[in-house]
């Protein structure tokens, strides 16, 4: 069995997974997620790697390929690095084989990635530099409202008369929210309004990658926000998209999963060329 690791260094979290591949079958052997919280992400990545090895009871030398993604390019013990679009597409296919569009909404940006059944990226659209379509913006607003991250989704779904916020600029959107608070708009309606505003942007991105059928799978941190997933489903229905918006309980690991699986694929390719082990194992 070929054992490979995927390490996704995101803006908010570090995710690590361990996979075994044999005869076309894959086994998920370990997973670890750590919020960064102003700590050294590379130190956390090393600890996360050790944690998944401990779960599988394997030493480092048994890992044939350590693949990084996200901001993990400079991890010294990695074998190779894959760009996050590449890994989220593959991770999306692993989590739901009907996936044809992956919506990776992380702390700082959002992307719609169109993929084929192999996980090959066909095209993509990405949010611009403004953070108003990102998880970080949502976290900030929740903090101002005194709401914990875990509560955002449930509270948002209680909002019946949402107030829309600026979908262009995070600064203007924050001003909108301050005005709403002063007008006694409920937290539920504020959060629902933000979710709808963000979902509208993401729906535009999805539309931009082409009208396809199948699943639009949410990955990244916001995949776990039920309020946002519901808002995106509503926005997609509004634009009459044939795609079905879904999330997955393990969606936050999509990048790390994709990295580990591409690592196994790449390891096999190098081995076929007689270069197995040429690009070093985990030191």
């Amino acid at each position: 069995m070929v054992v490979t690791a995927g390490i996704d260094v995101g803006t908010g979290c570090v995710k690590a997974v361990l996979f075994g591949s044999e005869g076309g079958k894959t086994t998920w052997m370990g997973r670890h997620l750590e919020r960064i919280r102003q700590r050294d992400p590379y130190q956390l990545a090393e600890e996360a790697f050790e944690a998944v090895l401990a779960q599988a009871g394997l030493p480092r030398k048994e890992v044939a390929y350590v693949a990084t993604t996200g901001d993990g390019e400079s991890l010294t013990f990695a074998t190779g690095h894959f760009y996050s679009m590449t890994t989220h597409a593959r991770g999306g296919i692993y989590l739901d084989p009907t996936t044809r569009v992956v919506c990776d909404i992380g702390a700082l940006h959002g992307r719609a990635i169109r993929t084929d059944e192999r996980g090959k990226v066909l095209t993509y659209r990405m949010t611009s530099q403004c953070a108003s379509g990102s998880g970080q913006f949502l976290e900030n607003i929740a903090r101002y409202l005194g709401i914990s991250q875990d509560e955002i989704g449930a509270i948002s779904q209680q909002g019946k008369t949402p107030e829309k916020v600026s979908s262009i600029c995070a600064v203007l959107a924050e001003t909108d929210v301050i005005n709403m608070v002063s007008r006694n708009i409920s937290a539920a309606n504020i959060l629902r309004g933000i979710h709808l505003s963000m979902a509208g942007r993401v729906a535009s991105l999805i539309k931009g990658v082409g009208g396809v059928e199948g699943t639009a799978l949410m990955t990244g941190g916001l995949a776990l926000d039920a309020g946002f997933v519901a808002a995106l489903a509503d926005s997609m229905a509004e634009v009459k998209s044939a795609l079905v918006v879904k999330s997955h309980p393990d969606a936050i690991f999509a990048g790390a999963i994709g990295a580990a699986l591409w690592g196994a694929f790449r390891h096999e390719k190098l081995r076929a060329r007689g270069l197995g082990g040429a690009a070093g194992r985990a030191a």
């Binding site: 760009y83 590449t86 090959k120 390719k269 690009a279």
Partner: protein, 392 residues
């Protein structure tokens, strides 16, 4: 016995030289002995041997880089011109070249040619020469012209230095530059064989040092770097092998090179600063040295966008040869915005690559480009596509 330096220490010295827009090292060289003179030159090629034989320091001028704010320079060029002439003017107007006694402006493009005229007007007391090279490569036509051009340069520098430049001095300088070119080739060959030992962001700085220090000192630095990197193990990554093309004049910010490498690419060949790689092998140190330099230029010089290729069938062949010889898996075209030579060459090179299924991408930059995310995105997805979807 001299203390052995680590790669990090050598690169730190080169980084300091790279960052120093006061050209302190070159100034100190000049101040170390009375009567010393410094002659600056712009990309892409000048026969630095002649400057050296005159007892002067050839100073490579490659613009102001990413940290220089251009204020005065913008007044001399319209907005659709590249940045290197503006930042070079900025350096000149703000006194950064007040120790430089002469300037050579090679015939890389109209912009640099016109810069030679502006320089003459702005700095009338400085020796300024537009150094024209032939675009015809037979001994009887281009050769005769180029020998006269070299001879004029020799006489001009002799006048500037107040003493003749002898054939013997020229031969000695040619030998020193032969040695330097040999070491440069060794570094490039080593990088192509083991790119994980010699990141291009380091190699670039080591080569860049050769623009501001005497050739003897640079050769020693290259020897030291070669020994240091081979003595220090570094992990090999599963990166794809690419050639960087189009970066021969205005230089990209160092962060752009780093972004390409961090995205999963090993740069196994490039066309940075061709002045030290322009002549492909040793120039003879016997016979007429001017003729030897001319013949080397005509028959044994690098083919680039800056050089006319009269045979269309051979256009871009050098790049295909480099792809084969360096075992490259793809080509990244990076050119300065508004760079006529690089950007006009690119479609011809792309069509040659496409005929033999060599993948490529392209983007533009300026020496002060700050936003590297698009580069990371392009280079990263390019590397992934090669690693995952190339055959077999």
């Amino acid at each position: 016995m001299a203390e052995t330096r680590t790669t990090a220490e050598i690169v730190a010295q080169c980084q300091a030289l790279f960052d120093d827009l006061e050209f302190t090292h070159s100034r100190r060289w000049k101040e170390a002995a009375p009567g010393r003179k410094v002659v600056g030159y712009l990309p892409v090629y000048v026969p630095a041997e002649i400057i050296h034989a005159a007892g002067m320091l050839p100073l490579g001028i490659l613009g102001g880089g990413e940290n220089l704010e251009v204020i005065h320079g913008d007044a001399y060029y319209q907005s659709y011109i590249c940045r290197i002439p503006r930042s070079t003017l900025e350096l000149g107007i703000t006194g950064k070249f007040d120790f430089v006694d002469g300037f050579l402006f090679p015939s890389i493009c109209d912009v640099i040619r016109n810069l030679s005229g502006i320089w003459k007007l702005l700095f009338p007391k400085v020796y300024v020469r537009y150094f024209d090279v032939p675009q015809e490569f037979t001994d009887d036509v281009g050769g005769v012209y180029y020998e006269k051009e070299l001879q004029e340069l020799r006489e001009g520098l002799a006048h500037l230095g107040g003493r003749p430049i002898t054939d013997e001095a020229l031969r000695t300088s040619i030998a020193l530059f032969n040695e330097n070119r040999k070491l440069v080739r060794e570094v490039y060959d080593l990088r192509a064989r083991t790119p994980w030992l010699t990141p291009t962001s380091e190699v670039y700085l080591v080569m860049r040092a050769g623009m501001v220090v005497p050739v003897e000192e640079h050769s020693a630095l290259l020897r030291e770097y070669l020994a240091a990197v081979q003595a220090e193990p570094r992990p090999m990554r599963d990166n794809c092998r690419v050639i960087l093309n189009g970066v021969f004049c205005e230089q990209p910010p160092l962060n752009l090179v780093k972004a390409i490498e961090m995205s999963g690419c090993y740069v196994v060949d490039d066309d940075f600063m061709l002045v030290n790689r322009w002549l492909l092998d040793d120039v003879p140190t016997s016979g007429d040295p001017i003729q030897a330099l001319a013949r080397a230029f005509l028959h044994r010089s690098a083919e680039t966008a800056a050089k006319y290729q009269p045979d269309l069938a051979k256009k871009g062949q050098y790049l295909l040869d480099a792809v084969r010889d360096r075992a490259a898996e793809g080509v990244i075209f990076a050119a300065p915005s508004f760079c006529d030579p690089a950007l006009l060459e690119r479609p011809m090179l792309e069509s040659r690559l496409e005929k033999v299924d060599v993948p490529h991408i392209g983007f533009k930059y300026a020496e002060n480009s700050g936003q590297m995310q698009p580069v990371r995105e392009q280079a990263g997805t390019f590397a992934d596509s090669i690693k995952l979807w190339s055959s077999p």
